[in-house]
Protein backbone atom coordinates (compact mmCIF):
# COMPACT_ATOMS: atom_id res chain seq x y z
CA UNK A 1 0.00 0.00 0.00
CA UNK A 2 1.48 3.35 -0.95
CA UNK A 3 1.77 6.52 1.11
CA UNK A 4 -1.26 8.25 -0.49
CA UNK A 5 -3.46 5.20 0.18
CA UNK A 6 -2.38 5.24 3.83
CA UNK A 7 -3.30 8.91 4.14
CA UNK A 8 -6.74 8.22 2.63
CA UNK A 9 -7.26 5.21 4.88
CA UNK A 10 -6.14 7.24 7.92
CA UNK A 11 -8.78 9.92 7.25
CA UNK A 12 -11.49 7.28 6.67
CA UNK A 13 -10.41 5.77 10.00
CA UNK A 14 -10.71 9.21 11.63
CA UNK A 15 -14.16 9.60 10.09
CA UNK A 16 -15.26 6.35 11.75
CA UNK A 17 -13.60 7.29 15.05
CA UNK A 18 -14.78 10.86 15.53
CA UNK A 19 -18.48 10.10 15.93
CA UNK A 20 -21.00 10.26 18.72
CA UNK A 21 -20.31 7.36 21.11
CA UNK A 22 -22.74 4.43 21.10
CA UNK A 23 -23.51 4.83 24.78
CA UNK A 24 -22.35 7.86 26.75
CA UNK A 25 -22.12 6.05 30.11
CA UNK A 26 -19.83 3.36 28.63
CA UNK A 27 -17.77 6.02 26.84
CA UNK A 28 -17.33 7.97 30.09
CA UNK A 29 -16.12 4.95 32.01
CA UNK A 30 -13.75 3.94 29.16
CA UNK A 31 -12.31 7.48 29.10
CA UNK A 32 -11.69 7.45 32.85
CA UNK A 33 -9.91 4.09 32.50
CA UNK A 34 -7.74 5.46 29.69
CA UNK A 35 -6.86 8.56 31.72
CA UNK A 36 -5.50 6.20 34.35
CA UNK A 37 -3.69 3.84 31.93
CA UNK A 38 -2.30 6.39 29.48
CA UNK A 39 -2.02 9.50 31.61
CA UNK A 40 -1.42 8.82 35.27
CA UNK A 41 0.90 5.91 34.54
CA UNK A 42 3.14 8.34 32.64
CA UNK A 43 3.64 10.56 35.70
CA UNK A 44 6.82 8.84 36.99
CA UNK A 45 8.77 8.98 33.71
CA UNK A 46 7.69 12.57 32.96
CA UNK A 47 8.60 13.68 36.49
CA UNK A 48 12.03 12.05 36.62
CA UNK A 49 13.04 13.18 33.12
CA UNK A 50 11.81 16.75 33.73
CA UNK A 51 13.70 17.29 37.01
CA UNK A 52 16.98 16.10 35.52
CA UNK A 53 16.61 17.93 32.23
CA UNK A 54 15.86 21.16 34.13
CA UNK A 55 18.99 20.59 36.20
CA UNK A 56 21.13 19.89 33.13
CA UNK A 57 19.85 22.98 31.27
CA UNK A 58 20.72 25.12 34.31
CA UNK A 59 24.23 23.67 34.56
CA UNK A 60 24.91 23.96 30.82
CA UNK A 61 23.71 27.56 30.80
CA UNK A 62 25.94 28.36 33.78
CA UNK A 63 28.90 26.64 32.09
CA UNK A 64 28.45 28.77 28.96
CA UNK A 65 28.09 32.08 30.83
CA UNK A 66 31.22 32.34 32.88
CA UNK A 67 31.75 35.97 31.93
CA UNK A 68 30.93 38.40 34.81
CA UNK A 69 29.06 40.53 32.25
CA UNK A 70 26.22 38.01 32.26
CA UNK A 71 23.99 38.23 35.32
CA UNK A 72 23.19 35.00 37.20
CA UNK A 73 19.46 35.40 36.71
CA UNK A 74 19.96 34.53 33.01
CA UNK A 75 20.24 30.89 34.13
CA UNK A 76 16.63 30.97 35.43
CA UNK A 77 15.53 32.79 32.28
CA UNK A 78 17.22 30.21 30.02
CA UNK A 79 15.72 27.27 31.90
CA UNK A 80 12.24 28.82 31.81
CA UNK A 81 12.24 29.64 28.10
CA UNK A 82 13.84 26.42 26.92
CA UNK A 83 11.48 24.17 28.87
CA UNK A 84 8.31 26.13 28.10
CA UNK A 85 9.02 26.65 24.42
CA UNK A 86 10.61 23.35 23.52
CA UNK A 87 11.52 20.72 26.05
CA UNK A 88 8.22 20.16 27.83
CA UNK A 89 5.79 20.31 24.89
CA UNK A 90 7.97 18.66 22.26
CA UNK A 91 10.49 16.41 23.98
CA UNK A 92 8.02 15.12 26.56
CA UNK A 93 5.52 14.48 23.74
CA UNK A 94 8.22 12.46 21.96
CA UNK A 95 8.80 10.46 25.14
CA UNK A 96 5.04 9.91 25.42
CA UNK A 97 4.89 8.88 21.75
CA UNK A 98 7.27 6.07 22.71
CA UNK A 99 5.55 5.04 25.92
CA UNK A 100 1.86 5.70 25.19
CA UNK A 101 1.99 5.25 21.40
CA UNK A 102 3.45 1.75 21.61
CA UNK A 103 0.93 0.87 24.33
CA UNK A 104 -2.01 1.98 22.15
CA UNK A 105 -0.74 0.28 19.00
CA UNK A 106 0.09 -3.03 20.67
CA UNK A 107 -3.14 -3.07 22.67
CA UNK A 108 -5.37 -2.47 19.63
CA UNK A 109 -3.17 -4.65 17.41
CA UNK A 110 -3.55 -7.57 19.80
CA UNK A 111 -7.31 -7.02 19.86
CA UNK A 112 -7.29 -7.20 16.06
CA UNK A 113 -5.13 -10.35 16.00
CA UNK A 114 -7.29 -12.11 18.60
CA UNK A 115 -10.54 -11.21 16.76
CA UNK A 116 -11.79 -8.99 19.61
CA UNK A 117 -12.34 -6.16 17.11
CA UNK A 118 -14.32 -8.53 14.85
CA UNK A 119 -16.40 -9.48 17.90
CA UNK A 120 -17.27 -5.79 18.43
CA UNK A 121 -18.15 -5.34 14.76
CA UNK A 122 -20.38 -8.43 14.74
CA UNK A 123 -22.29 -6.98 17.70
CA UNK A 124 -22.94 -3.86 15.61
CA UNK A 125 -20.52 -1.64 17.52
CA UNK A 126 -18.37 0.90 15.69
CA UNK A 127 -15.09 -0.57 16.97
CA UNK A 128 -12.94 2.40 15.91
CA UNK A 129 -15.17 4.81 17.81
CA UNK A 130 -15.53 2.52 20.83
CA UNK A 131 -11.80 1.79 21.19
CA UNK A 132 -10.05 4.91 19.93
CA UNK A 133 -12.20 7.93 20.85
CA UNK A 134 -11.69 7.43 24.63
CA UNK A 135 -7.92 7.27 24.04
CA UNK A 136 -7.94 10.50 22.00
CA UNK A 137 -10.03 12.37 24.56
CA UNK A 138 -8.01 11.11 27.52
CA UNK A 139 -4.67 12.07 25.93
CA UNK A 140 -6.00 15.50 24.95
CA UNK A 141 -7.11 16.03 28.55
CA UNK A 142 -4.14 14.54 30.35
CA UNK A 143 -1.14 15.48 28.21
CA UNK A 144 -1.47 19.26 28.79
CA UNK A 145 -1.55 18.56 32.54
CA UNK A 146 1.55 16.38 32.24
CA UNK A 147 3.29 19.08 30.22
CA UNK A 148 2.46 21.81 32.77
CA UNK A 149 3.77 19.51 35.51
CA UNK A 150 6.87 18.89 33.43
CA UNK A 151 7.48 22.65 33.06
CA UNK A 152 7.18 23.12 36.81
CA UNK A 153 9.49 20.21 37.60
CA UNK A 154 12.09 21.35 35.07
CA UNK A 155 12.20 24.75 36.72
CA UNK A 156 12.49 23.11 40.13
CA UNK A 157 15.29 20.87 38.80
CA UNK A 158 17.12 23.93 37.48
CA UNK A 159 16.75 25.71 40.82
CA UNK A 160 18.07 22.70 42.77
CA UNK A 161 21.09 22.39 40.46
CA UNK A 162 21.81 26.14 40.56
CA UNK A 163 21.54 26.25 44.33
CA UNK A 164 23.54 23.06 44.96
CA UNK A 165 26.44 24.10 42.73
CA UNK A 166 26.32 27.73 43.78
CA UNK A 167 26.14 28.94 40.17
CA UNK A 168 22.82 30.72 40.74
CA UNK A 169 21.47 31.84 44.11
CA UNK A 170 17.74 31.32 44.74
CA UNK A 171 16.85 35.05 44.56
CA UNK A 172 18.60 35.42 41.19
CA UNK A 173 16.96 32.27 39.86
CA UNK A 174 13.45 33.37 40.91
CA UNK A 175 14.08 36.80 39.38
CA UNK A 176 15.23 35.06 36.17
CA UNK A 177 12.17 32.84 35.80
CA UNK A 178 9.91 35.89 36.24
CA UNK A 179 11.88 38.21 33.98
CA UNK A 180 9.90 39.37 30.93
CA UNK A 181 7.58 36.41 31.18
CA UNK A 182 5.19 36.04 28.22
CA UNK A 183 2.05 34.05 29.16
CA UNK A 184 1.47 33.45 25.43
CA UNK A 185 4.47 31.07 25.44
CA UNK A 186 2.59 28.76 27.78
CA UNK A 187 -0.51 28.95 25.56
CA UNK A 188 1.65 28.14 22.53
CA UNK A 189 3.15 25.16 24.38
CA UNK A 190 -0.30 23.87 25.33
CA UNK A 191 -1.63 24.23 21.78
CA UNK A 192 1.35 22.18 20.55
CA UNK A 193 0.71 19.60 23.27
CA UNK A 194 -2.94 19.12 22.28
CA UNK A 195 -1.98 18.69 18.60
CA UNK A 196 0.76 16.21 19.54
CA UNK A 197 -1.63 14.27 21.81
CA UNK A 198 -4.05 13.90 18.89
CA UNK A 199 -1.21 12.72 16.64
CA UNK A 200 0.06 10.17 19.18
CA UNK A 201 -3.41 8.72 19.81
CA UNK A 202 -4.62 8.54 16.20
CA UNK A 203 -1.42 7.44 14.44
CA UNK A 204 -0.80 4.71 17.02
CA UNK A 205 -4.41 3.56 16.98
CA UNK A 206 -4.37 3.50 13.16
CA UNK A 207 -1.26 1.30 13.16
CA UNK A 208 -2.81 -1.08 15.67
CA UNK A 209 -6.26 -1.14 14.09
CA UNK A 210 -5.01 -2.23 10.68
CA UNK A 211 -2.59 -4.86 11.97
CA UNK A 212 -2.75 -8.05 9.94
CA UNK A 213 -1.32 -11.31 11.19
CA UNK A 214 0.04 -12.33 14.56
CA UNK A 215 2.54 -11.34 17.23
CA UNK A 216 5.25 -10.27 14.76
CA UNK A 217 2.90 -7.83 13.00
CA UNK A 218 1.65 -6.47 16.34
CA UNK A 219 5.28 -5.69 17.22
CA UNK A 220 5.95 -4.13 13.83
CA UNK A 221 2.79 -2.02 14.11
CA UNK A 222 3.91 -0.81 17.50
CA UNK A 223 7.32 0.22 16.12
CA UNK A 224 5.72 2.00 13.16
CA UNK A 225 3.39 3.84 15.55
CA UNK A 226 6.34 5.28 17.49
CA UNK A 227 8.37 6.13 14.37
CA UNK A 228 5.54 7.80 12.43
CA UNK A 229 4.08 9.72 15.35
CA UNK A 230 7.56 10.96 16.37
CA UNK A 231 8.28 12.12 12.81
CA UNK A 232 4.94 13.88 12.57
CA UNK A 233 5.49 15.57 15.94
CA UNK A 234 8.85 16.93 14.77
CA UNK A 235 7.32 18.17 11.51
CA UNK A 236 4.26 19.74 13.16
CA UNK A 237 6.51 21.33 15.79
CA UNK A 238 8.18 23.29 13.01
CA UNK A 239 4.86 24.20 11.34
CA UNK A 240 3.23 25.36 14.60
CA UNK A 241 6.31 27.36 15.60
CA UNK A 242 6.27 29.05 12.20
CA UNK A 243 2.57 29.88 12.62
CA UNK A 244 2.59 31.08 16.22
CA UNK A 245 6.01 32.58 16.85
CA UNK A 246 7.07 34.20 13.60
CA UNK A 247 3.96 36.28 12.86
Amino acid sequence: MNFIEHIGKYFIFLGRTLRKPEKVSVFRSMTMKEIDILGLNSLPIVSVVSVFVGAVVALQTAFNMESPLFPDYLIGLAVRDSVILEFSPTMVSLILAGKVGSNIASNIGFMRASEQIDALEVMGINSANYLVLPKIISLILVNPMLIVLSMALCIVGGWIAGEMTGFCPTEEYIYGIQYEFRPFNVAYALIKTVVFAFVIATISAYQGYYTRGGALEVGNGSTRAVVFSSMLIIFLNYVLTQIFLTN
Binding site: S114, E115, Q116, D118, A119, E121, V122, M123, G124
Partner: protein, 250 residues
Protein backbone atom coordinates in the same frame (compact mmCIF):
# COMPACT_ATOMS: atom_id res chain seq x y z
CA UNK B 1 -33.78 -18.86 8.26
CA UNK B 2 -30.70 -17.56 6.48
CA UNK B 3 -30.59 -17.73 2.71
CA UNK B 4 -27.37 -17.19 0.81
CA UNK B 5 -27.77 -16.49 -2.87
CA UNK B 6 -24.89 -16.90 -5.28
CA UNK B 7 -22.24 -15.01 -3.32
CA UNK B 8 -18.80 -14.15 -4.68
CA UNK B 9 -15.80 -12.82 -2.80
CA UNK B 10 -12.27 -12.12 -3.99
CA UNK B 11 -9.15 -10.74 -2.33
CA UNK B 12 -7.04 -9.10 -5.05
CA UNK B 13 -6.58 -11.91 -7.63
CA UNK B 14 -7.66 -14.65 -5.26
CA UNK B 15 -11.29 -15.61 -6.02
CA UNK B 16 -12.27 -17.29 -2.72
CA UNK B 17 -16.05 -17.73 -2.95
CA UNK B 18 -17.37 -18.65 -6.38
CA UNK B 19 -21.13 -18.31 -6.40
CA UNK B 20 -22.21 -20.19 -3.26
CA UNK B 21 -25.95 -20.59 -2.58
CA UNK B 22 -27.35 -22.28 0.52
CA UNK B 23 -30.18 -22.18 3.03
CA UNK B 24 -29.70 -22.52 6.79
CA UNK B 25 -32.81 -23.53 8.67
CA UNK B 26 -34.21 -22.24 11.95
CA UNK B 27 -33.98 -24.51 15.00
CA UNK B 28 -31.29 -26.64 13.38
CA UNK B 29 -27.53 -26.89 13.67
CA UNK B 30 -26.28 -26.15 10.16
CA UNK B 31 -22.66 -27.11 9.55
CA UNK B 32 -20.28 -25.75 6.96
CA UNK B 33 -17.48 -28.23 6.41
CA UNK B 34 -14.49 -28.46 4.12
CA UNK B 35 -10.73 -28.64 4.09
CA UNK B 36 -8.54 -25.76 5.22
CA UNK B 37 -8.50 -23.13 2.48
CA UNK B 38 -11.86 -24.17 1.06
CA UNK B 39 -13.36 -20.77 1.95
CA UNK B 40 -15.31 -21.68 5.12
CA UNK B 41 -14.12 -18.79 7.27
CA UNK B 42 -14.51 -16.22 4.47
CA UNK B 43 -18.03 -17.59 3.85
CA UNK B 44 -18.92 -17.19 7.53
CA UNK B 45 -17.38 -13.70 7.70
CA UNK B 46 -19.37 -12.68 4.61
CA UNK B 47 -22.57 -13.82 6.29
CA UNK B 48 -21.64 -11.77 9.36
CA UNK B 49 -20.92 -8.70 7.25
CA UNK B 50 -17.24 -8.64 8.24
CA UNK B 51 -16.36 -8.92 4.54
CA UNK B 52 -18.32 -7.01 1.90
CA UNK B 53 -19.61 -9.21 -0.93
CA UNK B 54 -18.48 -8.73 -4.53
CA UNK B 55 -21.79 -10.18 -5.76
CA UNK B 56 -24.80 -12.07 -4.45
CA UNK B 57 -27.14 -11.61 -1.51
CA UNK B 58 -27.67 -12.79 2.06
CA UNK B 59 -31.18 -12.82 3.49
CA UNK B 60 -31.94 -12.97 7.21
CA UNK B 61 -35.58 -14.11 7.31
CA UNK B 62 -36.17 -12.40 3.99
CA UNK B 63 -34.24 -9.21 4.83
CA UNK B 64 -31.50 -8.52 2.27
CA UNK B 65 -28.44 -7.71 4.42
CA UNK B 66 -26.44 -6.25 1.54
CA UNK B 67 -29.04 -3.71 0.58
CA UNK B 68 -29.36 -2.39 4.11
CA UNK B 69 -27.91 0.92 5.28
CA UNK B 70 -25.73 1.13 8.39
CA UNK B 71 -28.66 1.57 10.81
CA UNK B 72 -30.66 -1.33 9.39
CA UNK B 73 -27.61 -3.58 9.50
CA UNK B 74 -27.06 -2.59 13.10
CA UNK B 75 -30.54 -3.78 13.98
CA UNK B 76 -29.88 -7.16 12.32
CA UNK B 77 -26.50 -7.41 14.05
CA UNK B 78 -28.25 -7.17 17.41
CA UNK B 79 -29.96 -10.44 16.48
CA UNK B 80 -26.62 -12.16 15.77
CA UNK B 81 -24.48 -14.08 18.22
CA UNK B 82 -20.98 -15.18 17.31
CA UNK B 83 -18.56 -17.64 18.89
CA UNK B 84 -15.10 -17.01 17.47
CA UNK B 85 -12.46 -19.70 17.01
CA UNK B 86 -10.27 -18.29 19.79
CA UNK B 87 -13.20 -17.07 21.87
CA UNK B 88 -12.37 -13.39 21.18
CA UNK B 89 -13.09 -12.59 24.81
CA UNK B 90 -12.13 -9.11 26.02
CA UNK B 91 -9.09 -9.94 28.11
CA UNK B 92 -9.26 -6.78 30.22
CA UNK B 93 -12.74 -7.77 31.44
CA UNK B 94 -13.90 -10.47 33.84
CA UNK B 95 -16.20 -13.29 32.77
CA UNK B 96 -19.16 -11.33 34.13
CA UNK B 97 -18.15 -8.13 32.32
CA UNK B 98 -17.65 -10.03 29.06
CA UNK B 99 -21.11 -11.57 29.20
CA UNK B 100 -22.67 -8.30 30.34
CA UNK B 101 -20.98 -6.31 27.57
CA UNK B 102 -23.75 -6.57 24.92
CA UNK B 103 -26.36 -5.81 27.60
CA UNK B 104 -24.42 -2.69 28.65
CA UNK B 105 -24.17 -1.50 25.06
CA UNK B 106 -27.68 -2.21 23.80
CA UNK B 107 -30.12 -2.27 26.71
CA UNK B 108 -31.26 0.15 29.34
CA UNK B 109 -31.69 -2.55 31.97
CA UNK B 110 -30.69 -1.87 35.58
CA UNK B 111 -27.51 -3.45 36.88
CA UNK B 112 -29.61 -5.96 38.86
CA UNK B 113 -31.52 -7.05 35.74
CA UNK B 114 -28.32 -7.38 33.74
CA UNK B 115 -26.68 -9.40 36.51
CA UNK B 116 -29.66 -11.71 36.64
CA UNK B 117 -29.40 -12.34 32.89
CA UNK B 118 -25.63 -12.89 33.14
CA UNK B 119 -26.08 -15.46 35.91
CA UNK B 120 -28.84 -17.14 33.91
CA UNK B 121 -26.67 -17.64 30.81
CA UNK B 122 -23.57 -18.57 32.84
CA UNK B 123 -25.70 -21.18 34.58
CA UNK B 124 -26.88 -22.42 31.17
CA UNK B 125 -23.28 -23.04 30.08
CA UNK B 126 -22.38 -24.55 33.47
CA UNK B 127 -20.17 -21.69 34.56
CA UNK B 128 -22.05 -20.44 37.60
CA UNK B 129 -19.82 -18.85 40.19
CA UNK B 130 -17.05 -18.04 37.71
CA UNK B 131 -18.17 -14.41 37.34
CA UNK B 132 -15.05 -12.77 38.66
CA UNK B 133 -12.40 -14.75 36.82
CA UNK B 134 -10.49 -13.17 33.94
CA UNK B 135 -10.36 -15.09 30.62
CA UNK B 136 -6.65 -15.77 31.16
CA UNK B 137 -7.54 -17.62 34.38
CA UNK B 138 -9.85 -20.07 32.58
CA UNK B 139 -9.25 -23.19 30.47
CA UNK B 140 -9.80 -23.42 26.70
CA UNK B 141 -13.12 -25.21 27.16
CA UNK B 142 -14.31 -22.62 29.68
CA UNK B 143 -13.36 -19.80 27.30
CA UNK B 144 -15.54 -21.37 24.60
CA UNK B 145 -18.41 -21.61 27.07
CA UNK B 146 -17.94 -17.97 28.13
CA UNK B 147 -18.00 -17.01 24.44
CA UNK B 148 -21.24 -18.98 24.00
CA UNK B 149 -22.71 -17.29 27.08
CA UNK B 150 -21.79 -13.86 25.68
CA UNK B 151 -23.22 -14.79 22.27
CA UNK B 152 -26.60 -15.82 23.71
CA UNK B 153 -26.91 -13.09 26.34
CA UNK B 154 -29.05 -10.95 24.01
CA UNK B 155 -31.28 -13.89 22.96
CA UNK B 156 -30.05 -13.90 19.35
CA UNK B 157 -32.09 -15.30 16.48
CA UNK B 158 -28.96 -16.40 14.64
CA UNK B 159 -25.88 -18.03 16.15
CA UNK B 160 -22.61 -18.37 14.25
CA UNK B 161 -19.69 -20.47 15.48
CA UNK B 162 -16.26 -20.56 13.86
CA UNK B 163 -14.49 -23.83 14.71
CA UNK B 164 -16.05 -23.88 18.20
CA UNK B 165 -14.15 -26.95 19.35
CA UNK B 166 -10.73 -26.32 17.82
CA UNK B 167 -7.90 -26.83 20.30
CA UNK B 168 -10.06 -28.83 22.69
CA UNK B 169 -9.69 -32.46 23.72
CA UNK B 170 -12.29 -34.80 22.15
CA UNK B 171 -14.41 -35.09 25.30
CA UNK B 172 -14.58 -31.30 25.89
CA UNK B 173 -15.21 -30.81 22.15
CA UNK B 174 -18.30 -33.02 22.38
CA UNK B 175 -19.48 -31.11 25.49
CA UNK B 176 -19.24 -27.84 23.54
CA UNK B 177 -20.96 -29.32 20.46
CA UNK B 178 -23.79 -30.73 22.55
CA UNK B 179 -24.19 -27.44 24.38
CA UNK B 180 -24.51 -25.52 21.10
CA UNK B 181 -27.04 -28.05 19.75
CA UNK B 182 -29.11 -27.92 22.95
CA UNK B 183 -29.13 -24.11 22.97
CA UNK B 184 -30.12 -24.07 19.29
CA UNK B 185 -33.16 -26.25 19.93
CA UNK B 186 -34.05 -24.54 23.19
CA UNK B 187 -34.00 -20.97 21.77
CA UNK B 188 -35.05 -22.04 18.23
CA UNK B 189 -32.08 -20.21 16.73
CA UNK B 190 -30.68 -20.55 13.24
CA UNK B 191 -27.22 -21.86 14.04
CA UNK B 192 -24.40 -21.97 11.51
CA UNK B 193 -21.21 -23.75 12.55
CA UNK B 194 -17.97 -23.73 10.65
CA UNK B 195 -15.95 -26.87 11.32
CA UNK B 196 -13.66 -29.52 9.89
CA UNK B 197 -14.20 -31.89 12.79
CA UNK B 198 -16.01 -35.07 11.70
CA UNK B 199 -17.00 -35.81 15.31
CA UNK B 200 -19.03 -32.57 15.29
CA UNK B 201 -20.57 -33.53 11.97
CA UNK B 202 -21.73 -36.89 13.34
CA UNK B 203 -22.78 -35.55 16.75
CA UNK B 204 -24.78 -32.45 15.90
CA UNK B 205 -24.90 -31.97 12.11
CA UNK B 206 -28.54 -31.66 11.11
CA UNK B 207 -27.76 -29.96 7.83
CA UNK B 208 -24.32 -30.04 6.26
CA UNK B 209 -22.89 -27.90 3.49
CA UNK B 210 -19.57 -29.08 2.05
CA UNK B 211 -17.31 -26.47 0.46
CA UNK B 212 -14.47 -27.21 -1.93
CA UNK B 213 -12.32 -24.59 -3.67
CA UNK B 214 -14.89 -21.86 -3.05
CA UNK B 215 -17.84 -23.85 -4.43
CA UNK B 216 -20.65 -25.65 -2.63
CA UNK B 217 -19.71 -29.18 -3.63
CA UNK B 218 -22.35 -31.10 -1.68
CA UNK B 219 -25.12 -30.73 0.90
CA UNK B 220 -27.03 -33.22 3.03
CA UNK B 221 -27.38 -34.61 6.56
CA UNK B 222 -25.09 -36.49 8.94
CA UNK B 223 -26.68 -39.76 7.79
CA UNK B 224 -26.34 -39.08 4.08
CA UNK B 225 -22.73 -37.92 4.34
CA UNK B 226 -21.65 -41.46 5.25
CA UNK B 227 -23.47 -42.94 2.28
CA UNK B 228 -22.61 -40.46 -0.44
CA UNK B 229 -20.33 -41.40 -3.30
CA UNK B 230 -19.34 -37.79 -3.95
CA UNK B 231 -15.60 -38.12 -4.46
CA UNK B 232 -14.53 -34.94 -2.64
CA UNK B 233 -16.78 -35.67 0.34
CA UNK B 234 -15.54 -39.26 0.57
CA UNK B 235 -11.97 -37.95 0.45
CA UNK B 236 -12.74 -35.52 3.27
CA UNK B 237 -14.74 -37.87 5.50
CA UNK B 238 -12.63 -40.98 5.14
CA UNK B 239 -9.24 -39.39 5.61
CA UNK B 240 -7.83 -41.89 8.12
CA UNK B 241 -6.85 -45.46 7.29
CA UNK B 242 -9.26 -46.85 9.92
CA UNK B 243 -12.27 -45.05 8.44
CA UNK B 244 -11.27 -46.03 4.91
CA UNK B 245 -11.02 -49.70 5.87
CA UNK B 246 -14.47 -49.55 7.60
CA UNK B 247 -15.95 -48.04 4.45
CA UNK B 248 -14.34 -50.68 2.24
CA UNK B 249 -15.67 -53.51 4.48
CA UNK B 250 -19.20 -52.07 4.28
Amino acid sequence: MIKVDSIHKSFADNHVLKGISAEFEQGKTNLIIGQSGSGKTVFLKCMLGLHELDAGSIFFDGRDFNRMDFKERKEVRKELGMVFQGGALFDSMTVEENVMFPLNMFTNQTRGEKLMRVNEVLDRVNLNGKNHLFPSETSGGMQKRIAIARAISMNPKYLFCDEPNSGLDPRTAIVIDTLIAEITHEYQMTTVINTHDMNSVMEIGEKIVFLKDGHKAWEGTSDSILKTDHEAVVDFVYTSKILRSIREKN
